[in-house]
Amino acid sequence: MLFNPFSLTILFFALISLVIALCGGLAALRGLKNRHTLLDRKMDLLFLSASIFLTARLCSYPFFYVALQSFVKDIEGAMCIYGVTQVIPNLCGFLEIIKPIIFFFTGGWLILHYLTRQCKIESLFLKKLIFFLFISFLVIIDSAGDLLFFLMMNSDTTVRCCTLPLDSPHRLSATICKQLLGRHYEKPLFFIYYLSNFILAGGAWYALLAKKSGTKQDRQKRPFILIFILGLINFFITGLAMFEIIAPRMMHLPYHHCPYCLLQYVPDSFIILGLFMLGTFGLGWTFGIKIVTINEDTAGKLTFPLNRLYLFSISSLIISLAMVTFHLFL
């Protein structure tokens, strides 16, 4: 076992999360069983506790990578976080996939809870409860995974780091780019990266303006589904661009395609990636809340706060793009 202050913090938090998520999940199940008590004070208390706990839980996602970074010097052969992930690759891969999913759903629930409290909408109580039950289930799995991973982490394993798999000409991102754009894909991919981000930001801005100016019927037809799909496509394109062109250029290592090394060599890449994720997730949160409230009579009350969320998402995406541009051209 390998312990340091970061891993001990994660272990402690994972244990607390597991217990709280189990209790919260059971309380939510009881609430679902006795629906006539849905608006009781106990449910209010459950949601209040859940919002505090889940807000703290949001921080566990970036802290996971901070903890992995702290292990780099202790693992033989590890040069960056990628090397640390190779100690227990399958479990770490699973955690790396589930954590952003939990972040997305947790953020969505917190925003929904905050907005419904601000706007005093009680008709969404049942949907919030079901949503919370689902998140509790995910948090239980994630916490158990964290406990297992950090208890099994050891310094006895020698690993191979990122150079061979991620700088090989046969790496997955290069293969996908070659299939889609041909052998000389760098310049087209660079162009598509900027085009995709501009289309997404522009489309979201258009949808925002359409919200403000249209009638109620027009607002119903806002292209928020299209924006959500554009957001997913942009996420995929930006991911490819990050591996293939942005990370190598920002690190001034044109043949090194490791995003974990980017976090090491370019300190503000955390901010760039964080803003991009918040921007993309923000569009997803808006879409999700629209879907959840689509048949509610009180959906109109959420229009103004959702507009602000949309604006926040557009700003985050543009700032992330601007920071990348500064790095590449200054």
Binding site: E76, G77, A78, M79, G83, T158, V159, R160, C161, C162, T163, L164, D167, S168, P169, M251, H252, L253, Y255, H256, C258, C261, Y265, V266, P267, D268, I271, L275, R308, L311, S315, I319, A322, M323, F326, H327, L330
Partner: protein, 126 residues
């Protein structure tokens, strides 16, 4: 108004970080031209493209990966004799594949020597 202040603060932080990072990079010691890792003097490989600045690599494996991407250019390649630490031309060196790993993070097992008799491990040359 509040929102504008937040946006301005984010833009300001963005500019500060963007300004700080290039300055910090100048203080960083030069590493491998492929992946930025620390170069051990005994395993250094130097590739000099024609009329360009020489590039240093942490080992044979790193140099090979870089070389595959730039095979069409003309180079002079210098490798390091592990016995003496001297730089020699790549075509004059002997290469030995052994079980001893020079660099844990790439798993490189190719060793470089000036003379065949100095190669400690009786394996066929690569």
């Amino acid at each position: 108004m509040k929102f504008s202040i937040i946006i301005f603060a984010i833009l300001f932080l963005m500019c500060v970080f963007t300004w700080i990072t290039p300055h910090r990079e100048k203080d960083k010691p030069p590493g491998c031209s492929l992946d930025g890792s620390e170069i051990h003097p005994l395993y250094e490989v130097i590739i000099t493209p024609l009329d360009k600045m020489p590039k240093s690599f942490a080992g044979i494996t790193n140099a090979r990966i870089w070389f595959k991407e730039n095979v069409k250019q003309t180079f002079s390649i210098m490798v390091t004799d592990e016995a003496s630490g001297k730089k020699i031309k790549a075509k004059d060196a002997f290469y030995v594949l052994s079980n001893v790993i020079t660099s844990a993070y790439t798993g490189n097992r190719i060793h470089v020597f000036t003379e065949k008799k100095k190669s400690p491990v009786p394996h066929p040359a690569v």
